[in-house]
């Protein structure tokens, strides 16, 4: 695989942004990296328009309709899909809600929490994406090529993965920097 300047798209789905923060923790190396890759759609692009890219990166599990849709769309438009962080790889902490119905999760969060003043029992939902019955890892919906677990993966691990891609290899995270949190 030879790529002049690979295009990368990344997206932040059901997660905390910590994986993208860990990416920023490559610090000065970011300037060098930005000279070698073309970042097309950054996490801000939770929208319809992922361009065709060599590498797609997903941070986060899939917990609502919009996130499911975005994962499918990115899969279609990238050659290599990376699941980045424990949420994308395993579903992560989001899966803790899977033991109860989504409706109950909403009702308790918006009506029954102690400081909520909501006498009419308004549940958010208008013009908002509906929750999936369960939060799921990315590979329950689409094929994943590279798994990078960790909560979050270390900056060096993330840098390693991008370096491998720039060398034209499909990265496989070595055991000494592979971490599960």
């Amino acid at each position: 695989m030879i790529m002049a300047k690979p295009k990368i798209a990344s997206v932040w789905l059901e997660a905390c942004a910590g994986c993208h923060m860990s990416f920023l923790d490559i610090d000065e190396r970011i300037v060098d990296l930005l000279g070698k890759v073309e970042l097309t759609a950054t996490p801000i692009t939770d929208i319809k328009e992922f361009p065709e890219v060599e590498v797609g990166v997903i941070e986060g599990a899939l917990g609502n309709e919009e996130e499911l849709h975005l994962a499918k769309e990115l899969r279609e438009r990238c050659k290599i899909l990376i699941a980045w962080g424990d949420c994308a790889v395993f579903g992560g902490i989001n899966c803790m809600r899977n033991f109860m119905p989504a409706e109950q999760v909403l009702r308790e969060g918006y009506v029954e929490t102690v400081s909520t003043v909501n006498p009419e029992g308004v549940i958010p939902g208008k013009d908002l994406p509906a929750l999936l019955p369960h939060a799921i890892p990315v590979d329950r919906a689409v094929k994943v090529d590279v798994y990078v677990p960790g909560c979050p993966p270390d900056a060096d691990t993330i840098y390693y993965v991008f370096s491998e891609i720039l060398e034209g290899r499909i990265p496989s995270v070595p055991t000494d920097i592979m971490r599960y949190d």
Partner: protein, 476 residues
């Protein structure tokens, strides 16, 4: 969607502990009718924490936000301390504060240097391709390197104590799990002056910008609101203090213990956003809305306990007649003053012999069935509240996150900018970026990745009353 209206949807305006979008409804004559900032993600931490042992909460709750996980880590640990009914040994409390200062330095540096400074240096209407940290590195390399270095400095402090830069593990109920070593303390102290010097330069930059753009600063999403923040003896406080609310005219409306927050703060729910709207109960919603974060804190306090930040605060207050600053763009200025405070406070803590002591932990059992922990997160007051059974299993949890307090103000600010810059469906790019910058003032993490690593693409959809797509504008 109401009838006979066009709706402009700006999606995404994201990244405030979740994901968001802005919708602008236009009236028949093309004028702005209604503007809403929606938060579109919900994960349910309050609900799925039920049944967990409360001791797990300082590890579970930081996953709410990877930008300032330390805030959740500390608020949670404080709520757990309250359940144990213990008072921490001084070394433990001070080490928690060391980590907290590291967090303020890194999070505020990210906000200013990586995110907001490109808008200020290149202008709101500049080419989005250069209006980011890569453009910054090219045109202002010294500033970019200073910013990246300052963030790294804060992150290294967090990693030293907590093992990792994001989602560290250091605080435990009743204390902390690791001491600080002499050589680590020395290394933190050694590099501090260089970062302080860089910060002074950034402060000059912001002050000059605000002086040169005084008219914009006075107008941009300016809101006269109340302000909320922690204080200790009236001074700015970030780790542990009383909650104070100040009126738009600068009168102290109320001041109360953090454990009594629920008597004073309620949360309103709207069907169009997953983010709730906190308000001061005695005034009701929306009258009781207020702002938090750097501007809220500097307005709420009387003074700052460290010398250099105190004199900067005095200069900051001279920008208005009554010393209360309502200008939203001054969030950036306030943020830098808080970095200065964090650096000075960090130095005080590191020079305190307590931080090298090994008295780190008090054990205990469930003494109180309820615990409240409150800290100032970089973006504002953060409240954790747990109720447990006799064995310590969580029965109820309630979290009020920093960004929530600003929800009303963000909505009003975006609306105000929309009214100023939008007349009909033909919307200019600069107007979109200005609406985003309102959010950016309150919540740096919102678009960190955007300004940090590349372009800011935006999709603007204009829909008619049937919900059919009339026109699409893509900004790349």
């Amino acid at each position: 969607m109401e009838n006979k209206k066009n709706t402009i949807v700006v999606n995404p305006i994201t990244r405030i502990e979740g994901h968001g979008k802005i919708t602008v409804d236009l009236a028949d004559d093309g004028s702005v009718d209604n503007v809403r900032f929606h938060v579109t993600q919900y994960r349910g931490f309050e609900v799925f924490s039920k049944g967990r042992d409360f001791r797990e909460m300082p590890v579970i709750t930081p996953r709410i936000c990877g930008i300032c996980p330390v805030s959740h880590h500390l608020a949670s640990a404080k709520a757990c301390d309250a359940i144990l009914g213990v008072t921490l040994p001084a070394p433990a409390a001070k080490l928690r504060e060391v980590m907290h200062m590291g967090q303020f330095i890194q999070s505020h540096a990210l906000s200013f240097f990586h995110l907001s400074s490109p808008d200020l240096l290149f202008g709101f209407d500049a080419d989005p391709a250069v209006r980011n940290v890569a453009g910054l590195a090219k045109e202002y390399p010294e500033l970019a390197v200073a910013g990246i270095g300052m963030r790294k400095y804060g992150q290294e402090i967090i990693k030293t104590l907590g093992g990792k830069k994001v989602h560290p593990w250091h605080s435990i109920p009743g204390g902390v799990n690791r001491s600080l070593r002499t050589e680590e303390k020395d290394s933190m102290l050694e590099s501090l002056p260089a970062h302080k010097e860089n910060l002074r330069k950034a402060l000059e930059l912001v002050k000059n910008y605000l002086a040169e753009n005084a008219e914009l600063a006075a107008r941009f999403a300016t809101l006269e609101t109340s302000y909320l923040g922690l204080v200790k003896d009236g001074n700015l406080e970030l780790y542990d203090g009383r909650i104070r609310l100040k009126s738009p005219r600068g009168r102290i409306t109320d001041e109360f213990d953090d454990k009594d927050y629920c008597t004073y703060i309620g949360e309103h729910v709207e069907e169009w956003s997953y983010l709730k709207f906190p308000f001061y109960r005695p005034l009701g919603f929306p009258r009781g809305s207020y702002r938090v974060g750097p501007l809220g804190r500097l307005n709420a306090c009387e003074d700052i306990s460290t010398p250099e930040a105190s004199s900067e605060l005095a200069a900051f207050r001279k920008s208005t007649d009554d010393g209360i600053v309502h200008y939203t763009l001054y969030y950036h200025y306030a943020r830098l003053i808080e970095i200065l405070y964090s650096m000075e406070r960090l130095e005080e803590l590191l020079l305190d012999p307590d931080v090298l002591k090994s008295d780190l932990h008090i054990t205990g059992d469930v003494t109180n069935r309820e615990g409240v922990g409150v800290v100032e997160a970089p973006r504002g007051t953060l409240i954790h509240h747990y109720e447990v059974d006799e064995y310590g299993a969580i029965e109820r949890a309630n979290l009020i996150v920093a960004t929530g307090h600003n929800n009303f103000a963000m909505n009003r600010g975006v609306e105000q900018v929309a009214r100023d810059y939008i007349t009909g469906p033909d919307v200019k790019e600069g107007a979109l970026n200005r609406m985003e910058h309102v959010i950016r003032c309150y919540d740096p993490c919102l678009s960190c990745s955007t300004h940090a690593v590349g372009k800011m693409p935006l999709l603007l959809e204009i829909r008619n009353s049937e919900g059919e797509l009339v026109r699409t504008v893509v900004k790349e």
